[in-house]
């Protein structure tokens, strides 16, 4: 494994090492780390700046601490795993791959995530998410586990507003705040939990080396678009 210090090597050196396992030390808010990475494994030590792993296209990025805003922006494939919390606009427009955050996520997490054929975007947040989670969701899966927030609200306002495909799973019994009337809220049955949630959450737990059972126990609710209220009905052609 190669070790680079961002203060001495910058991002230039690192970019030349495609397909390798690299540790990047000394991060203190530097932006665009792992931008467009196609392969290889990157361990980030310290605190990376905004737009971490944007356009990630197959590589794996592990962050020891917290991530800032716009992490995994327009990500296409690969894995971003953040041991701490993530800032605002996490995984915006993401189409494929996995984003795992053990801590909390800020506002606008998972806005306009998508899915297409073999691409299926998966966002798992261990703690809670801020307002506007999964707005305009166009596909893929968002899971919020609410660890450390038991009995409290784990999403903010406007959860899933404008979403038209995909599913948001929340491990809570509390109704999300001001849920739009264009969305359907339902409880998740055992079969769905086993078939869909267990493989993802087990993977999430193994990435952070925590017991899977602690992440999956309890009941989940799912939020989906009400297909009977589609956008097309809004218009009259002249």
């Amino acid at each position: 494994m190669k070790v680079f210090d961002i203060r001495n090597n910058g991002l230039e050196e690192m970019r030349k090492c495609s397909g390798e396992e690299i540790t990047l030390t000394g991060c203190l808010g530097e932006r665009y780390i792992g931008c467009g990475m196609k392969d290889g494994i990157l361990h980030v030590e310290g605190t990376p700046g905004n737009a971490l792993a944007s356009y990630l296209d197959g590589g794996t990025v592990y962050v020891d601490g917290n991530a800032q805003d716009a992490a995994a922006d327009t990500m296409n494939a690969g894995l971003l795993a953040v041991k701490g919390s993530a800032g605002d606009a996490l995984a915006y427009g993401m189409r494929g791959g996995r984003v795992y955050v053990l801590g909390d996520a800020g506002y606008r997490a998972g806005v306009h995530m998508k899915a297409y054929e073999e691409h299926r975007s998966i966002l798992v947040i261990g703690g809670r998410a801020g307002s506007f989670l999964g707005e305009y969701l166009a596909g893929g899966i968002i899971i919020v586990l609410g660890m450390g927030y038991e009995g409290r609200s784990i999403t903010g306002y406007f959860c899933g507003n404008g979403m038209y495909a995909g599913t948001i799973y929340l491990r809570t019994e509390t109704e999300p705040l001001n849920l739009s009337d264009k969305l359907i809220r339902r409880s998740v049955g055992e079969k769905e939990k086993e078939d869909i949630l267990r493989p993802i959450i087990t993977d999430f737990a193994s990435v952070f080396s925590i017991p899977a059972e602690q992440c999956i126990e309890g009941s989940f609710i799912a939020i989906e678009a009400d297909k009977s209220k589609s956008y097309s009905q809004l218009y009259a052609a002249v």
Partner: protein, 495 residues
Amino acid sequence: MMRRYRIRKDDSCILCLRCARECSFGAITAEQDGSLAFHHEKCTDCQRCASFCPTGAIFITEDENTFRKNGVFSHDDITEILLQAETGGVLLSSMGASGKNVPIYFDKMLLNASQVTNPSIDPLREPMETAVFLGQRPEKIQRDAEGRITDNLPPHLELSSPIMFSAMSYGAISLNVQKALAAAAEEIGTYWNTGEGGLHESLYPYKRNTIVQVASGRFGVHETYLNAAAAIEIKIGQGAKPGIGGHLTGKKIIGDVSRTRMVPEGLDAISPAPHHDIYSIEDLAQLVMSIKEATGFRKPVIVKVAAVHNIAPIASGIARSGADIISIDGYRGGTGAAPKRIRDNVGIPIELAIAAVDQRLREERIRDRVSIIASGGIRNSSDAIKAIALGADAVSIGTAALCALGCHICASCHTGRCAWGLATQDPDLTKRLDPEKGARRLVNLVNAWTREIKEIMGGMGINSIEALRGNRMALRGVDLNAKELAILGIGYAGE
């Protein structure tokens, strides 16, 4: 619904039924007994039937039956109220704005020419430079230790003529139209733009003349797509619908459109109104830089905005964001589908926007940090030249390019039934356009405009398009008030 047009035929009709085969809107149908039936209410006046009638027997006219004349409520006003009362829907339209009382300033500006005191130039005899380079200009000349000039030129786009093709997505228009645009752009030495629909794999060979778009939906955007282009455009807004997002109905997301956008078949594709990762100029700067990082700083980044009230400070912010080129789309810019009220009532004309932006960037001494592309209702070479004289580096054409391919501006793109085979995905209709012939027509159009531009420039005694950029002495206004003249930065005719 009230009919708007009336279809008639005269005695020269030979009942060949060609019109019925050509009509894609169901306005003319062939009956069992071999006669023709006209369904006037479905007619869009696209003129396809009339163009193909071998005897010239078909006539489409505005219907004589109109509502009683009223000084306030026009025929359209009443029709639209009736439609909305029936459906409860937001009115959906297409093509450019039809605000009757918004002036077309291009028509109120006149160009200069040389007489006696400085000679005009004959482009048939003397070289005339129409090449344009779009991108940032370095602020200083750098030299190495030996005093040699070092190349510190940021990446540029090189155009042989200051005319480009506007962003039109695969989905809004057919693949054949994009093929024609791409092939024409390659032959001319200019650029076409994918819009927000991804880049079809068959068009990757044209990558040196392709601009790819990153819009709020991020459809079809991935690292390979970004690197498959000459430049990347971040679309914030467009002139036909500033401030609102896009919606491609699931009905159009079939087959290759679905594959290219990377959206499952039949699912609506919604582009949110804002980019939710851009809430400020700082956020925009971050997206610009992340795109540059992902493409190794090898490609210029364009930021496209609609011309709106505060366009000058907005452009100033964009110029400071690290973007290389600003594309400004004016009030009359076209679209494949937009809410009619937005199309007709939001934004400002491109002429005023270019003048205001150019002026502001000059005052702030940052004009050389960016190039400006102007679009939104450029109809001919003189519009292009006037836009450049007001301060644009280049113009881009969308509606005019579609017209070259057969569009008759019936403004029915949003129905997906385009009889000319342009704004549709129906294979029976899209095959009506031969991409090779289409490309030829586009090349002809741009070549003709370029020749006209050379002639007009020569007449002014200017032999390089760069010398025309922002040269407002070349313009004079007629029928304009003092405020309009001040914003355009031009004198009145005779001054």
